[in-house]
Symmetry: C2
Subunit: 367 residues, 2 copies
């Protein structure tokens, strides 16, 4: 991967040159990883026209999975944990950098001031979200990693569906899913698994409780695996017991249709709000307006939420090879609800349209 | 707990008044939790002379364990996730705050600028680490929570020691310990459990690998539970198989003596570097100088590393009722090593001296 990382650094150098900066200081963990392969550890990257220098915490373990550490173009500077950004900036000073672009959306005010105080001749500019923008369109290696992350989550979910669920708590089921994802090769869960049953089902950010799964419950599972740093997210809602109630069948069908409308609207060149409009109009036609403030989905990759946002007010256009989530839901307070989410890659129709990564069935299984 | 939280907010108000600020904007998650009980969720707290307003993400689940949300003095303002700090600052503007103290060590440059641009008359000052300093000395409720967190970690570790270890991987053992801690009532692991065997043993930040435990290995486990937000940290090193090698016995005895010397030096009024000096001199007398850059320990509570630092250059004095870690280690590259860490509460001799929270035996068990 170090060639790909070097190519990404080159693109950032071009951006810096064009914007008049001699060098960039990258501190945001996902951006450092994107440009170097270094997993989140508090490292900071200094990128000048000729050099790339990674200030890493000096207590970082060296002898495990250190693939990222063998990039020939990347010099490593071990420094105490708290000082990586400052140490990289000091290196910039000693390399006679004058205009240093920093990530003002990541750097704290205190650290920014400390860096600005290092030398009189150094001028700090704002790099903004330049690296985040580079990250939006994924290369095929990144998509391959996302595909594996999705397979892992699908496997873990599939195994859980074959086990007895009644009587087990949300917390136990969530833990079990995390364990299974790691067993199947995930780095870790991409975010804490959410399991909601009964009145907790269908919520977007439900934290698992000690509530036990009961006959007749809706069961919503929101999970994602992370593989080589790349995460996906998926949600499914099932029903427990032999036969779902009519309101459950109806609500599930509605959210299924909304989610499908959102998925089908994904295409390169489409404005970002279009998939949200498509899904939202299905829910609104059925009288559900509660989700109006929540976007339908978002980009996903090295961060679990990244650009582009797929909300009602997002006006940019979708690009080819952008992985996004599409996950509408309806929650009826006190009763429960349905959430169905996939991770897909935007692809043109000639290539078969959006590529679905999370392939677990979206039917209303009765478990 | 809301009385305790209100009392803490009152102390911060006094600090703000003394420093000339009308109000404080608290954004650092552990500080928000300390002052409100609200678990980390991206909330921001505005504290004026008369009011306390918590801007919380509007997609926060409401119907689970919301103990923290029923503080009568605390108004809640639901806003979109990314905007909590800005929304709290906007509230400050509409309450006619003129001097607003912010946490410059937490706030990003971008957000600081956005807040400064809200109104012409608002002046931003630096609150610094005022809340972190309030957090150093714990009350008995906080110490009770830490005691439970330590019991949970001890239980999980004790159960693991009774199981068969040979042939299992570091990753599996780490996962098992996390699961057991949650089973015993932990919110979660306070940090990712580290299990290192063979040449990986004795390292401070070892990430578990697929290496399997073998006869004759050292096995180092570093773990901690979090209970009601409060975390502890403990490390033990054992040997696998019937009889440890002489070098293992010797190294373990050495680190044990160093750790004991560090523990015994803990006392109110003692300078922070003294426990480190005590432990370090034991290791240095035996020819081990490698740990010279790493401090012996640190404060622990709502954050797994917080003030005070216990390093060779730390000159402040320890207070009564301050929980700290004491955890020296020696790692011999290629061979392995020993790490032994406890969490203790500084207490005066009249009360029996330092209170040991993590009570798992520190003997060299042969498993």
């Amino acid at each position: 991967m170090s060639d790909a990382h070097a190519a990404r650094r080159e693109r950032l150098r071009e951006y810096c040159s064009a914007s008049g900066a001699d060098a960039a200081l990258i501190t945001r963990a996902a951006n450092v990883r994107y440009l170097t392969g270094c997993p989140p550890c508090g490292a900071a990257l200094l990128l000048t026209r000729e050099r790339a220098l990674l200030a890493v915490p000096d207590d970082l373990p060296r002898d495990d999975s250190g693939e990222h550490l063998i990039d020939p173009e990347l010099a490593r500077l071990p420094v105490p944990q708290a000082d990586t950004a400052l140490a990289a900036a000091e290196a910039a000073v000693s390399l006679r950098v004058q205009d240093l672009a920093v990530e003002e959306h990541d750097l704290t005010v205190s650290r920014h001031r400390a860096i600005g105080g290092l030398a009189e001749r150094i001028r700090l500019a704002d790099l903004g979200t330049a690296v985040e923008r580079l990250r939006v369109v994924k290369d095929e290696q990144e998509i391959a990693d996302l595909r594996i992350a999705a397979e892992i989550a699908d496997q873990a979910l599939g195994e859980l569906l074959e086990s007895i669920l009644v009587g087990r708590t949300e917390r136990h089921l969530a833990m079990e899913l995390e364990r299974r994802m790691i067993d199947h090769g995930a780095d870790r869960a991409a975010f804490p698994v959410s399991v909601g049953t009964g009145s907790h089902s269908g919520q977007e950010h439900h934290q698992p409780t000690d509530r036990r799964v009961e006959e007749g419950d809706f069961l919503t599972v929101v999970l994602g695996a992370q593989y080589r740093g790349y995460g996906i997210s998926t949600a499914r809602t099932f029903v427990i017991g032999a036969a779902p109630a009519p309101w459950q069948v109806e609500l599930h069908r509605l959210v299924f249709r909304a989610q499908r409308a959102g998925r089908e609207a994904l295409s390169p060149g489409v404005e970002q709000h279009i998939p949200d409009d498509a899904a939202r109009s299905v829910l609104q036609a059925a009288g559900h307006t509660e989700r109006s403030v929540h976007p339908l989905g978002h980009g996903i990759g090295l961060e679990i939420r990244e650009a582009p946002q797929l909300g009602p007010a997002d006006m940019g256009k979708l690009d080819n090879r952008v992985p996004v989530t599409v996950g509408p839901g309806v929650h009826l307070p006190g009763r429960g609800g349905v959430r169905i989410e996939d991770t897909l890659v935007v692809r043109p129709l000639e290539e078969g349209g959006p590529e679905l990564l999370t392939i677990t069935t979206k039917e209303l299984l009765a478990l």
